[in-house]
Symmetry: C2
DNA sequence: CATATATATTTTGGACTATAAACTAATGTC
DNA sequence: GACATTAGTTTATAGTCCAAAATATATATG
């Protein structure tokens, strides 16, 4: 149901509209803001004055005029607030410190020795990294907006600090990070890593400006994020968009999620390698295996050609299901394995998507390569607290 | 992107909130409205006064009190406006006249002799039915909000009068109904039949009150509608939610859409009958065939048991994909064949959905039978103009 | 039956909003 | 230097919700 609205909501919404544009555009002027948002010049003046008073925005010079008063340059003060973004993967935890404009200021990575790391240990590592980065950058903790955490697995209610994380794949059942928030003294927002990457692509990557887009990430596994009406789609309790474990085969191979026929178990790198060699020859060193596969493919090895052709067709089919269900303007293909397919066989992939989707949505969907690299997870995670700041306007110290 | 907001939007949004509740609740009071929406008593008084002035709402008596001033009964005047809803199927066109409260006042149905009816002919039939119903009910055409049209196939931009309809299945390529709007002199809103049914289930059926729900309709074919944040999900250009033609098999049987492995071609009634008998024995009279199948099943016929078991599993898998992607609170299963499965084998279906979906979203999704019958298409179609009236507040004569 | 109590609704006054229109500021052109 | 042009600010106004006070109308109770 829609919620009741009041005049205050109007201001919050328009302030968010302007601040979002200020953050994303980097540098603008009041008249640009008015033209871009449709708000009257008076309102722009009013809201911008508020943002300048707060210290969020600065006037930093003038734009040359071609007849008429010069426009005053506005930009978000990168030191007005700071934010952390963490990428928790199966073998490594990376945390970066960003300014309010989401420029990366510093970074820390910690690799694991064994597998099956538990949530508490991850929390400790992140807390340590945050402390180190704070010291290194000499940042006032009171100016930190929060920490965004991109994790593998399904995350319920990422807006709440004590989000419940289900990640059977790496052995977490239901882990919460509320204690981490208490320990760090800053807000912690948790979300699925594919979703944070999607957020990054939506703010700064190939999905920029798209109202309806899909970001499909294929590595060893497969995940996706869905942008709907310009925003990340999360469903009833945020566990939406779990494309990697939708089924595209009634009989297919077993998946590590316990089921079978999942997209991940058919188009993921290890699955494709297995179908090429018929055995788990490259277990644990899939990137090497994929290099070998691509070499063989380029040399015309018939098994390699068949394996890659099939992988492309199956990926196209799995993406076509998303096209039929979400009718996106754009599909961004990424992840280390997905990126290779999108780079080396873009036309085959496009054709496969069109082939398996309905005519109308299929023709409307543009398939593109991801623009952001592996850093997208931390960047996207960092957008979570920034997004909340933009929407609610909570000043760090009062958050 | 979010749009700019102004104080007027606040009123429009709150007015819509109250009017929607008035339409759906049937009968309420000002204090109920305040409690339900969170709006202050003053605002409720204010907005309700406006609605009464307009003639949309009436005061119709009092509610007995148990100490304190009596509540004044409010309800939407069913004769304040009228609306038509049409169901265009492959063999029949049905149009009903409704009051503003969506009570069915009169109805007309026209069957086709041959197959492949063209859009122009459908428009003519609908126009004739509308004229007859107007005369029969002696309704002032100026008080008609519009006509909602539920059609098979993909509909682009159903909000615009000249929506483009793609319905390969019944031989329409791109048909528009803008001319019908001109001919009738009332707004025409077109949408896919599964989507209008979903809207009906959301307003008056099993999905009532659910913020995130899926309505899956399985007859001879299969279609679905998706409710997200309390509203029907339509994607970039409305062609979203085409579940019936998502693929769940890499090799599966050919589908009438030209592809293969589609949900529709695996769990649709004719597909199941074919898998039971191994041939198209019941083509054109599938309902009879399904009766025979159910009889055989109850008598323990092993082929029938296997066919129905498989159909239930496959339907569960196809629904599980939606569960993973949309994380709904509820799944409503309907359509004449889907309803039989949901009626006769509810537990098997629930188990199959859980089995093929991820743990967290799978446990949250409740599987239920549809409550509305075949009339849901016309009812849902009629909600389209009513919904627009609620949101925009356009009076019929000025629309 | 007078009074107290309870609930529903309306009236009043205040706090906020956006915006149109008038106004000020600063630049380039002729 | 007069004028046109563009940017931004100030002012006046209309519209919004809401808290609080006022009013209306019930039941309960001695």
């Amino acid at each position: 149901m829609a919620k009741k609205a009041s005049v205050r909501d109007v201001r919050r919404s328009n302030r968010a509209l302007l601040l979002r544009r200020l953050v994303l555009a980097g540098e603008t002027s009041r008249s640009d803001l008015g033209a871009a948002t449709g708000l009257s010049a008076a309102t722009v003046t009013n809201v911008v004055a508020e943002l300048i008073d707060e210290g969020t925005v600065n006037e930093t010079g003038f734009l040359n005029s071609a007849g008429g008063r010069r426009r005053v340059l506005l930009h978000v003060d990168p030191d007005a607030a700071y934010v952390f973004g963490s990428d928790v993967s199966e073998s490594q935890v990376t945390t970066c410190l960003f300014g309010l404009t989401l420029t990366r200021l510093a970074s820390r990575a910690t690799r694991f020795t064994g597998r099956r790391i538990d949530p508490a240990r991850v929390g400790e590592i992140v807390a340590g990294q945050v402390a180190e980065l704070l010291a290194e950058a000499a940042v006032d903790p009171a100016r930190v907006l929060g920490l965004g955490l991109g994790v593998p697995g399904v995350v319920e209610h990422p807006a709440t600090p004590d989000a419940v994380v289900h990640a059977d794949v790496i052995g977490w059942d239901t882990a919460g990070f509320g204690w981490l928030e208490a320990a760090l003294g800053i807000p912690v927002l948790v979300d699925n890593g594919a979703k944070t990457t999607t957020q990054a692509e939506s703010w700064y990557g190939s999905a920029r400006g798209a109202e309806h887009a899909i970001v499909a990430l294929i590595g060893d596994g497969a995940g996706a994020g869905i942008i709907t009406n310009g925003r990340l789609y999360r469903g009833a309790s945020s566990g939406a968009g779990e494309w990697g474990h939708t089924k595209i085969s009634l009989t297919g191979p077993a998946c590590r999620c316990g089921s079978f026929g999942c997209v991940e178990s058919i188009v993921g790198a290890s699955a494709v390698l297995r179908s090429w060699r018929g055995a788990d020859e490259f277990a644990g060193r899939e990137p090497l295996g994929v290099e070998a596969l691509l070499d063989a493919y380029r040399n015309g090895d018939s098994a390699a050609v068949r394996a890659l052709d099939e992988a492309t067709q199956h990926l196209g089919l799995a993406l076509a299901n998303l096209v039929n269900l979400y009718n996106p303007e754009k599909i961004i293909v990424g992840g280390w394995f997905g990126d290779l397919i999108a780079r080396d066989r873009p036309e085959e992939l496009r054709a496969a998507v069109r082939r398996f989707s309905l005519k109308q949505p299929g023709e409307q969907a543009v398939v593109e390569r991801s623009q952001l690299g592996m850093d997208a997870v931390t960047l996207g995670a960092a957008t979570l607290p920034v997004d909340r700041f933009i929407e609610t306007g909570l000043i760090p110290s009062t958050a």
